[in-house]
Structure formats: C-alpha cells, structure tokens
Symmetry: C2
Subunit: 593 residues, 2 copies
C-alpha cells in the first residue's frame, strides 16, 4: 500500500502538547492536550483527536492504529477468536474492478463472546468489575484536574461528582445512565463515556462521496472531525464500497464509530424497502459487528400502528431509517421486523458489545410537528426496548429530535428521562426554527445547548449545509466547533466541576492582553488569530494593550487596569493615612485644652 499518499491532517494544535496520564488500577496512557500559556500553568483539556495530533505517533493508515485494547480483552478471558463472515460483493454495493476500494490490508482476528458470556461494559459493571475502559474514560473526564473546582450551576437533576472516579463510571454504567461504546472488535479505540453525569459529548456524521474517493480521503474526514473535537463519528455512507471504506475508517479511528445498519441492508436489496428481510438485516448486523462498529442506530420503535399518526404532519416522516421502516410496515401491513426480532438483535449486540442507539424514526421534521403523538408514542416504545436490551446486558442510548421550538425542548428531556429510565439521550440539535436554511448549525446550537443543559448526554452536530447539500471540509469544522460550544455551554450551566476553568483562563488572558493565549485557549485558534490579524496584523499588536475594536482611548480593559492602579494607589494612601492615625493614638496624645 506504498502508493497511498499520506494526506491526513496531523500535528498538534497551536501551543499544544500531547500528554498521557497513567492509570491507577490499570496500565493506561490516557491522552490529554496541554495548552502552553504565558505566565500561567499550562491548561489541560479533553482530547478526542487521537494519535493524529501527537508528533511522536507513527501514522500509517494501511497499518491502522495500535490495538491498545487487545491486551485488556485477552486479560478478561471471555472472548474467542473465530473466522468471521465472508465479505460478499453485496457488502460493497456490488463494486468491482477499478471501482472497488481495496480491502484493508492487515489480517486481524475477529472476536466474539465465548458462549453466552456478557462481554459488554454493562455486563462487567453489573458484575462489579472496573474495566480499563472505565478507568480510561474516568481519567479523561477530569481533564487533568486533581482537585475540585468552582461549583456554580444548576444541574437539572444530574449528579456531578467533584472528580470522576473509575468506580463512579462503573456505577453509572451499571445503572444504565451511561455507556462506553466499545465493540470488542474495535481494539484501536480510546474509550469514552456518554451519560448525563459526564461532560456533554458531540457526534459528527461523515459519509462517502458520490464519486469514488480514496481511502485517505475517507479516513481524513474522520480525522478532521475529531481534530476539532468530535467525540464519536457516525459513518452514514451508502452505495458502493461501504464495507471496505468502513474497515479503513474503524481501523484508524480512536473514537467510537456508529452506523445505521439499515442503510447498508437497503443497498443489498437494491434500494427497494419492501424487499428488506430480517435475514438480510441480521447478516448486516453481524457483518458490521465483526468489523468493530461501536454503536448501531436501530429504528425498532417505529411500529405499524404509529404510521397513521404521521398522516396529518406538515413534513411526514423525516428520518431516513424511519421512513424506510414505515414503508416496509405499510407495504406488508405487518409489524416491523426490527421490533419483532429485537431480542435477537440484542443477542448479537451482546456478543460484541455493540451499543444501541435506539433511533427516533418518527422525530419531527419541522416546528409544527414537534412533540406530537407519533413522536412520543415511539419514545415510549424506545423505553420498552431499553428494558429488553438491559435485560441482555446491552448498553443503550436513545435518539431524540430534531426540530423543536424552545418552549417544547424541556418536555422532550422530561419524557425521555421518565420513559427510558435515564438511559443516555442523544439528540440531533434540535433546531429551534426552520426559517434559516444555510444557518442550521446555529438554529440547532440554541436547542442543543439547552437540551444539553437539561440532561442530554450527546449532541449530534448539524452543519450549515443541513437541508441543502453535503457538507464540505469547512462545513464539518464549523459544525463541530458550533457543537463544542453548545456542549460546553451546557456543561457550564450544569455546573460541571472544572468546566469553567477554560473560560476563566481565556478571560484572564483577555484582561491581561495576552492575545496569543486567547487564541490558543479558544476552540479554533487559527480562525481567532486570522480574524485578529485582519485588522491588526503586526506582531507588536499581539502584545498591545488594546485592539482595533475600540483603540487605546476607548479600551475598557485598559481603563480597568488604570482604575485598579489608581484604586491601589489610593488604597495605599488610605492605608498610610490610617496607620498614621493609628500611630497617633499610640503616641502621646496632644494635650487638649
């Protein structure tokens, strides 16, 4: 594979160093990012970008990332190697010859649970085992903190400990309130935890291009999204080569990879929804589980009797998976095979520890359809399915809307908490208005920040191109940064201990005119620096005690410094005057009269 040009974006962000924190219970190297500051201790922040931002890492996508989890799995002794399913032409959308993306070149073991052993993180948590995955995720959550920080927020029912311990992660997973998506066949993973009592996470969607693209290009989409902070990535590819491309992505992914297996199953029946069968779907689940997909979106909540509830909607069914299943149900006039075979799906997920992301196939597609009968009927079914999955030790999160005006957002969270027993909520936005195509990252960031505060554990990003076309590189970055903002605003509002550290650090830098620190602490140092340099490009201005916005005469920060200096001077004089008066009393008083 020498002929693959190396086109990945690598190297650290400005002024940043990759550091690795050790484990206490397990031998771990947990990656964090340290941002160097001028005159302050370096700031440690969460880092989902993987080895790509470590200059010391050897990156070769044809080898994939190191299988860090290999030893952990072996040590548990409950998995077995076996000969996986044979890849068929249909798996790759019947691509062949020059149009076929090459298979990932390294041979690798395919694992599954031995007998009916529960090899899921939920299974271990229930058995009281603190896995390396749990400790890894716990260490990341503290962002290098060793002590509690400012507590200021309204947790809205969340329970946020001062410091996240591995045992706390175990507890949360055992209770079903959190998941660590970690397929035993994705051994390249850097584990992370999704739950209401942890930092709010974000997901970025990627998909293959219509024109044949190279493996590097497909891997780069994932690398680019995690560079800016995506915590998980969903591969929503369709059409040709999806099996092989998925392999390349997972082998090079330090973050959990999610998919919607229904998309691939539909490809296998030539795009005819009615022709889908349980057997084809089941085979697709096994195919993807063997590859290492960490979570599956399963639209098992769309039931036959709910479909008429969407008839009077303004925009009908807008979930692709939901509409495919609705069409199937209506055509055959029978219950969805996903619902009927849900226990069997659980058996497969249990064998590989694929987490469920129970899809909201009936989510609203516009403001008018929000919180309607169809949406909540499905949510209640997702609650039932959660219990079935939990009974089989499967990890579960629940997908949520979509398009919801602000006053209806809280009800979504409340209903989800109530009916799904606090299983993590994973929402798309929601968009708070539909009147701004081209700006739906913003219409949805408003809703995302709010629902994140209310308790949503992971926010699925929306890019500026939503409803209009496929996002390009810039759109993906804008979407990720926008959602990092929403997630962080939610952490601040919940009072996540330590969340405010980064705000305080940037505020101090701002007040002290440390421009470079301001840029580097920010979510997107490059853009901040470029914007600043447009009007004040010279290096001298990077240390100027004012900026182009107000100029020196009007700079409130500069005046604030003057005020402080003046106040201190005055205070000094007052102190001296007081001392003098004090002293006066100590000495012999002047004779009166």
């Amino acid at each position: 594979m020498k002929d693959i040009p190396h086109t990945l974006t690598t190297g650290g962000l400005p002024a940043s160093r990759k550091v690795y924190h050790p484990g206490t219970l397990h031998e771990l190297r947990v990656p964090m990012r340290e941002i160097d500051l001028n005159g302050e201790e370096p700031l440690t922040v969460y880092d989902s970008s993987g080895p790509y931002t470590d200059p010391a890492a050897r990156i070769d996508i044809a080898r994939g990332l190191p299988e860090t989890r290999g030893g952990w799995l072996q040590a548990r002794g409950d998995v077995q190697e076996y000969t996986g399913r044979t890849v068929t032409d249909a798996d790759n959308g019947f691509a062949n010859g020059a149009r076929l993306t090459p298979a990932f070149p390294q041979p690798r073991a395919v694992l599954r649970a031995t007998d009916d052993r529960a090899v899921t993180q939920l299974g271990y948590a229930r058995a009281g085992i603190v896995t390396p995955e749990m400790e890894f995720a716990a260490i990341r959550e503290n962002e290098g903190r060793l002590a509690a920080h400012t507590r200021d927020g309204d947790p809205m029912g969340a329970t946020l400990p001062d410091l996240v311990t591995p045992e706390f992660v175990r507890d949360e997973i055992a209770a079903g309130r959190a998941i660590i998506p970690a397929n035993i066949n994705h051994r390249e993973l850097e584990p992370m935890v999704i739950g209401r009592n942890f930092k709010v996470k974000i997901n970025a969607n990627i998909g293959n291009s219509a024109v044949t693209s190279s493996m590097e290009e497909e891997v780069e989409k994932m690398v680019w999204a995690i560079r800016w902070g995506a915590d998980t990535v969903m591969d929503l590819s369709t059409g040709r080569n999806i099996h092989n491309i998925r392999d390349w992505i997972i082998r090079n992914a330090p973050v959990p990879i999610g998919t919607v297996p229904l998309y691939q199953a539909l490809e296998k029946v030539g795009g005819i929804a009615e022709d889908l069968t349980w057997e084809i779907f089941r085979d697709t689940l096994i195919e993807q589980a063997e590859q290492g997909v960490d979570y599956f979106t399963i639209h098992a909540g769309v039931r036959l009797h709910m479909i008429p509830m969407t008839a009077r909607r303004v925009t009908g069914i807008v979930s692709r998976g939901g509409s495919i299943m609705a069409k199937w149900c209506l055509h055959h006039h029978r219950e969805s095979f996903l619902y009927e075979h849900f226990s069997e799906i659980c058996d497969i997920c249990r064998k590989y520890d694929v987490s469920f992301s129970l899809g909201d196939g009936l989510r609203p597609g516009c403001i008018a359809d929000a919180n309607d009968e169809a949406q909540f009927a499905e949510l209640h079914t997702l609650g039932e399915l959660t219990k079935i999955a939990w009974a089989r030790d499967c990890q579960v999160m629940i997908e949520g809307p979509g398009h919801v005006a602000m006053h209806k957002i809280k009800a979504n969270m409340d209903e989800q908490l109530k009916h799904c027993d606090e299983a993590p909520f994973y929402t798309l936005g929601p968009l708070t208005t539909d009147i701004a195509p081209g700006y739906d990252h913003i219409t949805s960031a408003i809703g995302a920040a709010m629902i994140g505060w209310f308790g949503t554990a992971m926010l699925c990003y929306v890019t500026p191109k939503e409803h209009l076309g496929l996002p390009d590189r810039d759109d993906v970055k804008t979407g990720v940064i926008t959602y990092k903002i929403a997630a962080h605003a939610a952490d601040l509002a919940k009072g996540h201990p330590g969340a405010q550290r980064r705000d305080d650090a940037i505020s101090r830098a701002r007040f002290e005119f440390r421009w470079e620190d301001q840029f580097n602490i920010g979510l997107d140092p490059d853009t901040a620096r470029d914007m600043h340099d447009e009007t004040m490009p010279a290096d001298a201005h990077k240390v100027a005690h004012f900026c182009s916005m107000c100029g020196p005469k009007f700079c409130s920060m500069k005046i604030s410094h003057d005020i402080r200096a003046e106040a201190e001077k005055r205070e000094g004089m007052d102190r001296m005057a007081a001392k003098f008066r004090e002293g006066g009393e100590l000495y012999v008083p002047e004779p009166s009269e």
Copy 2:
C-alpha cells in the same frame, strides 16, 4: 453633490415585492415584504429595510429619505422650529480641509417642544392619543395578518394579543412596557415598537472606519444591516467626522438610530476621561438630539460606591462607557455627573423625544463575573432612574449583559422586570461561554434566544469578530442573520401569534420539494441557494424530488409521499370494502341455514 457615486445596495430580495399597508386612523403607508411562492398565497413578512428594497423608490443620499413624519408632527402643533446649535470643529473631532467629511447638503428645520410640552410618545400615550407612529408600528407587528394564527408557546408572563391594535401599542407605551424610539428631528423614520409584548427586535452596531471613508460607505453600512433585518442601528463612531457622518446616516435611515453620546464627549476633551464635564456632555446631548438621534445610551447607573465592587472581578469593567465614567468618578472621587444631572438629561430627552437606553456600564465581561454584586447594584439604580425618566414622560429601555452562562440568564430577566418595572430590556447576547473567539455570534445567539424568550424586547447583535477586530460586511450580515434567528426562535417559544406562519410555509415547501420557495422564505435566500447549488447546480435539480444529501433511494420525504399515496390507496380500498358491506345490508340478506 453629483460627484457622489451611487454605491448603495438596493433592490428587493429574491421573489420579493414591497407592498404598503394603509392605516385606518391615519393616512399611512406601512412597508411590508411579500414573498411570492409557487402554488401558495404570497407570504407577508416584517420589513425593516426601508425604501432601499423598493425598486420604485428614488434613492439619493444627498437628499435623504422623505420626511414622512413631517406632517404628523405639524398636525400635533406642539413643536417649534428654531435655530439649532452651531456645529463646531470639536463636533467633528477637529477634522478639517480634505479630511473633513462634507456636511449634509440639504437645509432642514430643527424642532423642539414648544414650552414644556411633552412631545414624547409616552406623553401622548398617557394623554390617550394614538399617534400615527403607534398605528404604523402596530400594523407592522401583524405582518399582514388579519386573523389570529396558531397559538402555541409559553409566553413567560408576556401578554401577546391575537392581533396588535394601535390602541394596544398606546397602552403598552403608557405603561412603560414599550417604546417607539422616534426623535422629532428624525422625520425620515419608519416607526417601530420595542417591548416584551411585541416581536423581539434586533440592533446592529456600526462605526466609522479608521481611514477616511466616503459618506456612501458609511450610509451603506446602515443600509446593509437593515437589508438583512436589523430593526435599529447604533452608530458607535469615534474620532474624526462623527458629527457629519451621523447626519448622513440619520438623514438616510428609516430605522431608529442610537448612539452613546459619551464617546463623542470624550473626543471633545481629547480622550482624557478626567477632563469630561457635565457642560460638555450636555452640549453633546443637544447636538445629537437636534440631529435626530432616536435613543441615547446613558451610563448613569455607574455610581462611585459601586466601583470597588468590580475590584475582584476577573475582567473588571468591560463597558467602554462604564469604564470611562468609573475612571472619572475615581479620579474626582465624586458621584458621576450623569447620575447627578439625570433630571436635566431627562429634560433634554423630553424636548426631542429621545428615548433612554440606560447603559449597563458594570455588565460582566466574562462567565466568572456574571450576576455579581456590581452588576445588580447598577441594575437597581437603573430602576430608580427609570422612574425619574418616566416622571418626565421620557421613554426608557434598559441595557443588559453580556457574558452569562445559561443557568444565570433567567435571573437577569427576573431582576430586570422586578426592579425596572417592566421597562423594555435590551441585551447584548449574552454569550454563554467565552471559549470560542471567532464564533461569538453563536456563543451569544444561544443566550440571546433564551433571554428573548424570557422577555427581552431587543437583542443587540454580536458578530464573529467580537473580541478580535472590527466586523466587515460579511460579519455584519452573519451577525444580523444570527440574531434574526435568535429573535424569531424567541417569538416562536413565546407563542407570538403568527410567528409560526413562516416556519410552516418553509416546512411545506420543503416537504413538497419546492426548492426555490425554501430559499426565498429563508432569512438568507442567496446563501441557501448557493449552498444547494454547490452540489446540485442544474435547474432540473431545483424541482427534483430529492436532494444531494440522501439521493432518491434514501429520501425520507420522498418515501413519506409514497407512504401517503399508499395509505390513501389502501384507505380507498377500505372505504370501498366498507361501502360494499354497507350495501350488502341494504339488500335482502342471504337466507341463513
């Protein structure tokens, strides 16, 4: 002035027509925008863009806009023409020769109240008079609706009538809950109302360039901001030529213009805050009132005893006006002249109907400083000042923060409502996190949407360049569109009757694959169309029943239509079957046994 090149952006938005609605009580031409749709009635929307988007209007910035209000003022018979103050060199920052921007060339009358007559909208409202300004503003609020529409929302204490009548506007103004900023010397104005029980408004800030720019360029900044939806514009210019540039702007502004007179006063004393005097400030107020400034930001709430409260803040005082006054107070160690002379300021504002925008000089400049002692102490003082202004029939709104994490936003609104007796709140954002320089339009849109829902009447925009540099044309547009999103999301959440019309119209267009309608109903048709065309440029694709995002096989909307067709077919069969059974009963039953 023939040599002034015509460089303004004029012409309507795509598929849009300017229409004028008549008054009932007064002879009025209230401008609205009608968007033509395919197969639906045109959609009428609020239009703040003025004559610039009317192809029939004759635009000549050297003549200014028509003085529509001239007749209204004459009819009231309570104002007198007089010889205004003489413009001095200091008014223009001592610009001269080639560096002096020419004065506005048309002679015009300067008006003030006769004797002590209350010529303010509040004065009229209290006297039971429904002015043309009130009727004008009322008609706009209904956006062409003649009937109530969907009521769905949580008004959070707001009282939103099904239709806004001129009498309702009068009531709200009389109660101090709303203002119509409308200086009697700004007769070119298209009046609009700011209040919690009306549509949420947005303000855009503009300022002169450091390098000498032409009058067209300065006017164009305002024209550009209102084209995208700014309801008011604040001219925050400093330095040279500000008097003359302000004249050009006001003479060509259909929207209220706000200023911070302190900035100009500071210029007159060479930028030395300590050298400011009440006399210089007073003279500046009269200068700007005679020009027609519609609202003044006055930082009279910053009192001497509050300054030490900012000493332990992370970012001190970040309001320019606040820091200037704090410096003055500290230097002289005496109470602010704005506070001490507040009654006299009211007398000036009363004479011209300049509305107050009571400035929040002690607003927080970072997450850590939000809702602190200094901020709320000042807010309480603003409440006192409100009562003083109201006693003199002056219209008042109150400025608010700033930088506030989500969980502290509601308290800002609650405190403001409580201490300022429901005078309209006018907030800057607030930014919900500080960690994203370059994206502060987004960090603040989250807070703006929320506080708008909670009751804020006007939102001051923030552009992507906030904290980094001066916004360019694209930044201004991005800021305005972002804030239109926040304001509209707030209207939807409050349940503003009619707000959802536009969302529903775009949702129907989306479901019916009317791409052109989707673009044109949106806040930024150009950007939406460009984004769509990047991946599906051909005209044929503008009528395609799918798009580039999912393709035809995966298009949920297309499948939804198939489902509906199938459901209808099935329903048709069921109906026929039912009829057959029914018919069977009407005929002779088969003999049983």
